[in-house]
């Protein structure tokens, strides 16, 4: 099939470009970017932490749009609905991966810079709650009865998407009322221009990687769906033969 050949070639090229971008960004982050005055070399964690955190806020919306598509299409056009569902689960898993990394790198930085693994500040707490939401989505997919999984997960995704802005706002109000030590400096800390190249290359690289993961996971899910449908067809054909 020529189409799958094209897909795999494009995919491979994208992967190579992505790895190149990440390698370049990593090199810039570790070697070229200047050492930060107050925090020292540990600050270099930022070049992985901040892009990952920003990207982890994007994928939930991919999941939401795909889930909304699924709910809209599932009666009229089941085939397209299945495609939407595959995008939804891919986006949810990538969200969990990126937010996990955001939490982990944040904790390692905090431990090195402040001596504490955790603080219930606005950003970390909101990221933790985001992580919880999408882990619960994955748990629902795992534990629900087959046949219902996709619809129930899509419904939960709508709830989660509405919840995300409410979570961020409410945690911010909470921390305004009861301040706690803040990781990563307050709202005024900007990025020095000499740090921009490393930062930009890491955002680009990890965004490309995120797209790669999304598409790869989507392809896996489509393959599984096809296997399921083949199996279902085979068993139906089996009963037809007996009826004859």
């Amino acid at each position: 099939m020529r189409r799958s050949r094209i897909y795999s070639t494009v995919g491979l090229v994208w992967l190579v470009l992505t790895l190149a971008a990440i390698a370049h960004g990593t090199r810039l982050a570790l070697v070229v970017a200047p050492t930060e005055a107050t925090m020292g070399n540990v600050q270099r964690i930022f070049y992985y932490h901040v892009p990952t955190s920003m990207l982890s806020l994007l994928f939930p919306y991919v999941n939401f749009v795909a889930s909304a598509f699924y709910l809209g299409c599932r009666r009229r056009d089941p085939m397209r609905a299945l495609t939407a569902d595959a995008v939804a689960i891919a986006a949810a898993e990538v969200t969990v991966v990126y937010s996990s990394i955001s939490l982990l790198t944040g904790m390692l930085w905090g431990r090195a810079a402040w001596g504490i693994w955790w603080t219930w500040d606005a950003r970390l707490t909101s990221m933790l709650l985001l992580w919880l939401l999408y882990v619960s989505y994955l748990m629902l997919r795992k534990l629900s009865a087959t046949g219902q999984t996709q619809t129930l997960a899509a419904v939960l995704s709508v709830f989660a998407a509405i919840d995300v802005p409410i979570v961020f706002m409410s945690i911010r109000w909470w921390r305004t009322q009861h301040p706690a030590p803040v990781f990563f400096g307050g709202p005024d800390t900007g990025i020095d221009p000499s740090m921009m190249p490393a930062f930009v290359w890491n955002i680009v690289g990890w965004a490309m990687w995120g797209v790669f993961l999304l598409v790869f996971r989507y392809a896996l899910e489509r393959r599984r769906q096809e296997r399921e449908q083949e199996a279902a067809l085979k068993s139906i054909e089996g009963t037809l033969e007996i009826a004859q």
């Binding site: 990593t26 570790l30 070697v31 020292g40 070399n41 540990v42 270099r44 964690i45 992985y48 932490h49 990952t52 898993e93 991966v97 996990s100 990394i101 982990l104 790198t105 390692l108 930085w109 431990r111 090195a112 990687w209 790669f212 993961l213 790869f216 996971r217 392809a219 896996l220 393959r223 599984r224 296997r227 083949e230 199996a231």
Partner: protein, 45 residues
């Protein structure tokens, strides 16, 4: 190589190294899991 300091003995350096390696392990691990599942789904039932 100018990266020698990373393998130094300070806690800072250890945490930095741990952070970067953890990211590669998690991202690579997830991609590897997808690839493994892909191969498994490709086998005939």
């Amino acid at each position: 190589m100018r990266l020698g300091w990373i393998f130094g003995s300070s806690m800072e350096a250890h945490h930095l190294l741990a952070a970067y390696v953890a990211v590669w392990l998690i991202q690579g691990g997830y991609a590897g899991w997808i690839a493994w599942q892909w191969a498994r789904a490709g086998k005939n039932l």
